[in-house]
């Protein structure tokens, strides 16, 4: 939006926190990519090396980020709005729980046995469902069981994907 809506600025101040943050974000990402591809040889034009394109793209990304950040000082645009921390915690947390429990996990002293879809499914639905503002616990629990059963029938049996069901109980 910002580049197109031309409103002449009187002096520089931040007119779009969203664009400024976006520009800085691009610069940080690009700088990271540039630093981590530092050791890769860029090669010559005749024989491009592995490092040439990552570095070139990183430089362009950083330049675009800088343009975006500078543009935010001149042109009006959107402001940054709040985050949905609850969504991040419960929805993404649910996915992580699924990842940890589906086939088990071992990290130092922490050991999680392979629980399979029979447990991981309801766990994911029940945990992530807590993210909704209008959650109803009873409804959610019933839905978690029902939906998991439907998924097991669909993915394990109808589509026969090799996903563990309940190794600790059924051995599959």
């Amino acid at each position: 939006m910002s580049l197109n809506r031309i409103e002449r600025a009187q002096g520089l101040r931040v007119r779009s926190t969203q664009d400024l943050a976006g520009g800085l974000f691009m610069i940080v990402l690009a700088a990271g990519a540039f630093i981590f591809s530092w050791d890769l040889p860029a090669g010559t034009l005749r024989q491009l090396g592995p490092g040439m394109l990552p570095k070139a793209f990183a430089v362009i990304c950083a330049a675009l980020g800088a343009m975006l950040a500078l543009a935010s000082l001149r042109y009006h645009g959107e402001k940054l709005s709040g985050w949905s921390w609850k969504g991040i915690f419960f929805a993404l947390g649910g996915a992580l729980l699924f990842a940890l429990t589906i086939r088990g996990f071992e990290f130092g002293p922490i050991r999680v046995p392979a629980l399979g879809l029979l447990v991981s499914g309801p766990l994911l639905i029940a945990f992530s469902g807590l993210a909704a503002d209008d959650r109803k616990i009873k409804e959610l629990l019933i839905f978690a069981v029902g939906m998991s059963a439907a998924c097991i029938l669909l993915f394990k049996y109808a589509l026969s994907l090799p996903i563990p069901l309940a190794p600790w109980l059924l051995g599959i």
């Binding site: 691009m26 005749r46 996903i163």
Partner: protein, 499 residues
């Protein structure tokens, strides 16, 4: 007459009982997921990708094509009934379609959309069949330099046609290209930007990126806003348009099909322009333009036909040149690669039954939509009333099972969650993630072609402007960018995309 021989080969493949069934299931589940508000075609296809894994490549592609049409049509249904466009191309349908629904003519709007789409789909199928063979021959003339320039042009179009700020779309394309360099270098075998994580040595997994950014991040975005769903209450009304409606829609459908079909072939999301162009045209041609926005049937018939025609002709650059013109087609590339097919001119010569079977199944898919969607409208309406608090856990479990099944790797699910967070961050910063996916898919191919071209030219960049086709493509790319940056055009562009 070659075309007819090809098409009959294709129909021979597509009309086997198994493939009809796959197409049917694809259309059905595609619509089922696509009809959910806030789930566009990109998210639908990424969620449903895993259910095609167990199939042979031809069957899988036929099913995917079905899913694609179903998702498209599901988006139109949501646009008409709930006033939430699933994606950019059905924005226009909300204008008059939802008004019609409010006047109790939801059924007629849905019916007109389906019939218009079916007609457009039939025409587009013939166009693809007719253009497929000659364009493939053209593609064989392309050397690495031409391919590289063509992709540059495609990305320039994608920048210009993206929603929102051009600069931000540019950022996303470059970020996609940057992500595509992660992984083992093809020529030297050196690891790039992998941080020593073994899972990254093959590069960022396509489905992980797509599902994270379009599945998870979408859920996070929808969770944040308390939903205001304006589901049409009351009757859907009869589905088949009356004689007057048909008389009013014929011309818009024909014009929409032509516009959408032509724009869809353009590399770089040309299809997105179709519905806008069609709507503007109908409004200009109408005797009484003031009816538009208040439930004019032409405003549904034209754009919907253009939408479907464009959605289908967008396959042409993908199937003939191997270059996806937009994010949805980029997803199709990912899906094809998972099934071991590299899209490009060689597909037609090496797997003719797959190529023509898929084209024929597009027509079958369009017919399916007509057959299953209209009788099932009542079911879609019920589905629209499922509250989001139950919908998103269901979307999440589909995504999780899906990603797990790609490589049977729990770690992939964790990576997807990470990309979900990343995608949410992008949304918060006002970036539209679709161009990133396109850049990501084109990136590897671009690097390969660039290297080949430079080896052939002994390290001279002049090769890109010396060769006439390549130079022409680059000139078009520069022109498109320059025109879009002109202040007067930029203003118009903004109007189109905010309307």
């Amino acid at each position: 007459m070659e075309t007819i021989a090809h098409l009959s080969l294709g129909f021979g493949v597509a009309l086997t009982l198994k493939n009809i069934a796959l197409c049917f299931v694809g259309c059905l589940v595609g619509t089922l997921i696509g009809v959910l508000p806030g789930v566009g075609p990109i998210a639908t296809i990424s969620i449903l990708l895993p259910i095609t894994f167990g199939l042979d490549p031809t069957g899988a592609l036929i099913m995917l094509a079905g899913i694609y049409y179903g998702a498209q049509y599901g988006g139109s249904t949501t646009a008409i009934l709930v006033n939430i466009p699933g994606e950019a191309t059905s924005v226009v349908t909300t204008l008059d379609g939802h008004q019609m629904a409010k006047q109790g003519r939801a059924g007629v709007a849905l019916g007109t959309a389906a019939i218009g789409s079916f007609f457009a789909g039939c025409v587009a199928t013939v166009i693809i069949a007719a253009l497929g063979a000659p364009l493939t021959k053209l593609a064989l003339l392309f050397g690495p330099a031409e391919y590289f320039s063509l992709m540059v042009m495609g990305l320039c179009f994608a920048v210009v046609l993206a929603r929102g700020s051009i600069l931000k779309a540019f950022c996303m394309i470059m970020l996609g290209l940057l992500f595509s360099t992660v992984g083992t270098d093809l020529e030297t075998g050196q690891e790039r930007l992998t941080f020593g994580i073994p899972a990254l040595s093959d590069g960022i997994d396509f489905s992980v990126l797509a599902m994270g950014v379009f599945g998870f991040a979408e859920v996070l975005r929808n969770l944040e806003a308390p939903e205001a769903r304006d589901v049409v209450k009351g009757k859907i009304g009869r589905l088949l348009p009356g004689w007057d409606d048909i008389k009013q829609s014929i011309a818009p459908v024909l014009r929409g099909t032509a516009i959408g079909g032509i724009l869809g072939i353009l590399p770089g999301n040309g299809a997105v322009l179709g519905p806008f162009a069609s709507y503007t045209m109908e409004k200009k041609l109408a005797k009484d333009p003031s009816r538009f926005g208040k439930g004019a049937i032409e405003g549904v018939a034209g754009p919907e036909s253009a939408n479907n025609a464009g959605a289908q002709t967008a396959f042409i650059p993908l199937l003939t040149l191997g270059i996806p013109p937009n994010a949805v087609m980029a997803l199709m590339v990912g899906a094809m690669t998972i099934h071991g097919i590299i899209p490009g001119p060689q597909v037609m010569t090496r797997n003719p039954e797959l190529f023509w079977g898929m084209i024929a199944s597009m027509w079958v898919g369009n017919l399916m939509l007509l057959v299953i969607n209209l009788p099932l409208v009542g079911m879609w309406v019920k589905l629209l009333q499922v509250p989001y608090r139950l919908m998103f856990p269901a979307i999440l479990i589909f995504c999780c099972i899906g990603i797990y099944s790609v490589n049977n790797q729990p770690l992939d699910v964790a990576f997807t969650a990470l990309f979900g967070l990343f995608g949410y961050l992008l949304i918060k910063l006002g970036f539209e993630p679709a161009p990133m996916l396109l850049g990501f898919v084109l990136g590897k191919l671009m690097e390969e072609k660039l290297r080949q071209a430079l080896i052939i030219s002994r390290g001279s960049f002049v090769t890109f402007v010396e060769r006439p086709i390549s130079a022409g493509l680059l000139v078009v790319a520069v022109l498109v960018l320059a025109i879009a940056l002109l202040p007067s055009i930029a203003k118009k562009r903004e109007e189109v995309f905010t309307e």
